[in-house]
Each structure stands twice: as C-alpha cells, then as structure tokens.
Assembly symmetry: C2
Homo-oligomer: 311 residues x 2
C-alpha cells in the first residue's frame, strides 16, 4: 500500500474534553490522519462521548467508524439510528478505578469510619471492634473486565467472590458462578452486591423488589453499572424500611438526579455523581490509536460494540 | 519418645479473651497439655497479651515459653525483666487487616467521601472529579509482613511503592528501597506515608519535625505501627498549620488517648483506637499450635522475639 502524501482520513473529535483529547491524539502521531474542527462530507472517523456521537450521526455521510470514550453507549443503541458504521468503545481500562470506588465504600462501611468520626468528635475512645472484609462474600452482577478486577482486588483482603454472568467464566478469582435464573440464589449468599452490568434490554430493572428481597438485611448494594438496572422506588423502599443495610449509587435512571427524586431523602444511601471511573486520556487514547492502525491496515477493530447485544 | 499417660506441659492463658482462646486451644487437641486456671509451680507455657504476660512472669518459676497474642511486645522488653524464657509473638497474620484499615483511609481521602456526603446532604449534584490512588506513591516505613501486604494491595490500584527498611529487600512489590539516612529522600517523594515499624530504641520519634517537614504538604500520614514512633506535638503542629493534608492514627504514646491530649483538637486528623488489626483466635491459634508441636519435639520455635532487637 502506497503512503499518500496528504491525509486520507478525517477525524472529528466530539467531546467536552476535546482540547485534551486533541493533544493526546496529536501526540500519537497517527499517519494519514487529519483532525477536522467541524463535520465534513469526507469525515470518516468520529471520537467522543456517546451522546455527542449521536448528535453528529446525521451530519457525517462518510462515517465508517465511531469510537466512544465511555463504556456505556446507550445513546447509540436506539434502533431508529443508523448502524452503518463500526462502533467501538472504551473497555478494559476502568477496572482499577472502579475497584477504588467500590472498595472505598466497602471499607467505609465495614470499618465504621463515619461512626468513628462521631466518636472522635465527642472525645470518646471507642475501642470496640469494627467489621472486616475478610471472610465476607462479594457478589458480582456481571463479570467483564471491571467485575474481574473487583474479584482480583477482593482476594488479598480474604474475600469470597461469586459471579453472575451471561456466559463467560474466565475469571480465576471467582469462587462460584451463577447463570440465568440462579441470580436470587447467589444474592442470598452475599454480604455485598455490586452491579457492573451494561444497559441492555436483558439487564433493565434486574435489581427489582424480588431480588432486593433476596439480599440479606445486613447487605450493601453498590451500583457502578447503569441506573437502568435498578427499580429505584423498590430500592428506596428497601432502604427506608431497613430491609437493606445500605446502598451506594454512582448511576441513576436520570442524571443529574432530579431535585425531587426520592433518593435525596432516602436513608443509608450514598449518592455519587457518575464519577466512579472517569475517562482519562491516558487510558482512552492507547486503545484508540491501536485501533486506528488496525483501521489503516483493514484489520478488524478491537472493542467493537454489537448493536444487537448492546455492548 | 514415649507418650506419657498424663499431661507433661501446663499452659496458663492470660487474656481478656481467655474463654475464646481456651475453646480454640482445646479444639486444637494439643497432646500432653493441661490448661491451668491459675499460676502453678510447674506451669511452663504462658499465652496472652504482653501486659498480662508481664504481670505473671514473677509467678511462674518453671516458665520456658511465652506466646504473645499481639505483634507489639514492648511491656516485655524492659531490661529489668527476666529473659530466661522463649518469647514468640503473633506475626505474619495482620497484613490483610492492616491493608483494610490503610486503604479504607487512603480511599476515603482520594475519593473525597466526606466531601461528597456534604454535597449529598445539601442536595447538590457534584460531578467534579475526585482523586485516584492510581499513579500515587505509597511510602512504607518498615517492610515486614504487614508492609509487604500493603505493597501488594497497592499494586492492583496502580500505585508506586517505596520501602524504608533496616535490611530485608525481599518484597517484590516494592519499587524502590531506602535505608539508614535516606529516609527524608524517600519521604519527599511520597503521597502517603504509612508507618508499620515496631517500638524499638531505633524507631523512637523517627517521625519528627524534620521528617514531617520533608513530606509534601498534600501528603497523608498513617500510623499503624506504634505511637512511640511519632513526635506527637510536632505532628499536631504540622496539621494545625496545614503543612500536611491529614493524618490517620491508630496508635498513640498513651492509650487510651488522654482527654487533654492536643490530638482531640487537631484538624484533619482521624483518631481510631488501636483497632486497625485485632487479634482474632482464628489467626492467632494456628501458629501457636504449630509452635507447640515444635516445642514438644524440641525444635526451634518460629516467630521468636529477639529481646535485644525488640521484635
């Protein structure tokens, strides 16, 4: 293949961190690539957040490949949208950051940090024992690269890990696997349940009143997947009625969480703001650059989203 | 060797958890052993907390072996006390529990959990980014079994680990080693400094005003070793003057911390109550039982304390 003297590919960056991403992409010195500022008739590559990609789909007739800087690509799964392009997403890079988030809250809970703060504020030397992660059971709803990292992080703390998955059982750190209708059976055994599932028709409202009822009352539920997985009124009721020790939510059906939402008034609930695992250019650019070289060579791209499966 | 029909060894348990330990030791079915309730002329084995062992030393003329249920054995190091017995201690079992404690507070700090609680309480959707452990540098003062576990726990989070040690460099997860007078040089590079050193003459007041001055102002200091390692007024001053982001202390020169101690009024300080790594019978008994079998066979005991070194 001859190298052409002028770039043959046009990339449009559509991101609220566009300047940062542009610097990183320029630093990758991708051959035959021109970065364009506005949609053009010839632009074949689009890079950015899924919602911004969606807005630009009608304006890019020559689009062949879009790369999402997030893992979740719900905005692009609407069957009414075009699917005549390759969609790849950020994947395999969020495990360590999600582990930080999940273990931050598991440890906060077991080590009674908030209660100890209150003791300290009242000048009280409280040497009762706290709980420990050791010997506890972590249940994973979804065992992709994020779930696998959570499982691996739990092991040095002496935890048992159970995994609920559609099919793959490749993670060595999972001590027991569950499938299909075995989910309530898994949930009954856990001390902590962590959802990492993507938003698909199969995962919608999977954490419903029945599943919450199967969780032990001392359990903690953490959602780092998608808000669509949770029956939010059912979760608020379980927390308000003390049928669950606590919940930690980074994602919601509507974000930002509306001011009138019941979660603002729900006890034993930690609300964070879709900040568990941010997309950092240092994580996002290397797999994108690798895929660009594959694209140039006409090889299959990695991290492709299956529009039918939704991930 | 003939097995005698009557027990030939007498064990006295001297612990505030005596009933628990007695059950676990009985369950270990140690041969030729009688558990006695009170000091006797023939009692040759003593088991319990260091301070209780100390009290009983004068009452046990036949003592040949004492096993401490704690790692720190300061009460037994007084040169005025007898040293005509073997002293072993709980060791190698506290790593996972100390890692829980240390990472609980590192993650609380980086993930801004207390600040997020305030945002939530005011109904505010705060989606600014938090910090991450990833890319941060953890400095370990002491790299025994506890320091090594901390180093291993930091790796999946993507941390760099530096270690200050008297001699051993066996931990693979440490990225850089420091010795002797290189301590300030290490400390200048860290984001978090964790002390795990035992109480010995060499470690007394090792964290003094000069060393605190070498820590970057954004650093967090955590003490899970012994309170004797810290110049407490110097630490209080550094925190009060904002020369250090925060400190987390589980151990103090005097415990319980006296009501008039300045730490109760020091900002950005988390006080816990010597509860980072409790001694659980499930951890303590197996190495004791293993040592008992060695004792019976006349073999050298493991986990022996060197009275001169102090650990």
């Amino acid at each position: 293949m001859l190298h052409t003297p002028f770039p043959t590919h046009q990339l449009l960056i559509a991101s609220y961190k566009g300047d940062q991403y542009r610097q990183w992409i320029e630093a990758a010195a991708l051959p035959n690539l021109s970065i364009v500022e506005q949609p053009t008739m010839d632009c074949d590559i689009l890079f950015g957040e899924p919602a911004r990609i969606r807005e630009l789909l009608p304006a890019l007739p020559a689009l062949r490949w879009a790369h999402a800087t997030w893992a979740g690509v719900e905005p692009l799964l609407d069957p009414a949208l075009r699917r005549d392009y390759l969609l790849t997403n950020a994947r395999g890079v969020f495990g360590p950051l999600v582990s930080e988030y999940v273990f931050a809250y598991l440890l906060l809970h077991e080590r009674k940090i908030l209660q100890r703060r209150l003791s300290q504020a009242s000048g009280q030397w409280d040497n009762t024992l706290t709980g420990t992660l050791r010997g506890k059971t972590l249940g994973l709803l979804g065992v992709g690269s994020i779930g696998a990292h959570l499982a691996g992080t739990g092991k040095p703390f002496g935890m048992r890990v159970l995994g609920y998955t559609r099919q793959s059982e490749s993670c060595q750190e999972v001590d027991g696997w569950f499938h299909g209708d075995e989910l309530p059976g898994m949930v009954r055994q856990v001390d902590y349940l962590v959802n990492t599932l993507p938003n698909t028709p199969a995962t919608s409202q999977i954490i419903d009143a029945r599943l919450l009822g199967a969780l032990p009352p001392h359990a903690l539920f953490i959602n780092v997947g998608r808000g669509s997985a949770v029956d939010e009124p059912a979760l608020a009721a379980a927390l308000a009625e003390g049928r669950l020790a606590g919940a930690v939510l980074d994602v919601f059906q509507q974000e930002p969480l509306p001011p009138e939402h019941i979660f603002w008034r729900t006890p034993n609930l930690f609300i964070t703001n879709h900040t568990a695992a941010p997309s950092f250019p240092a994580d996002i650019i290397p797999p994108f650059a690798e895929n660009y070289h594959r694209y140039l060579r006409g090889e299959p791209l990695r991290y492709q989203v299956d529009f039918a499966l939704g991930y």
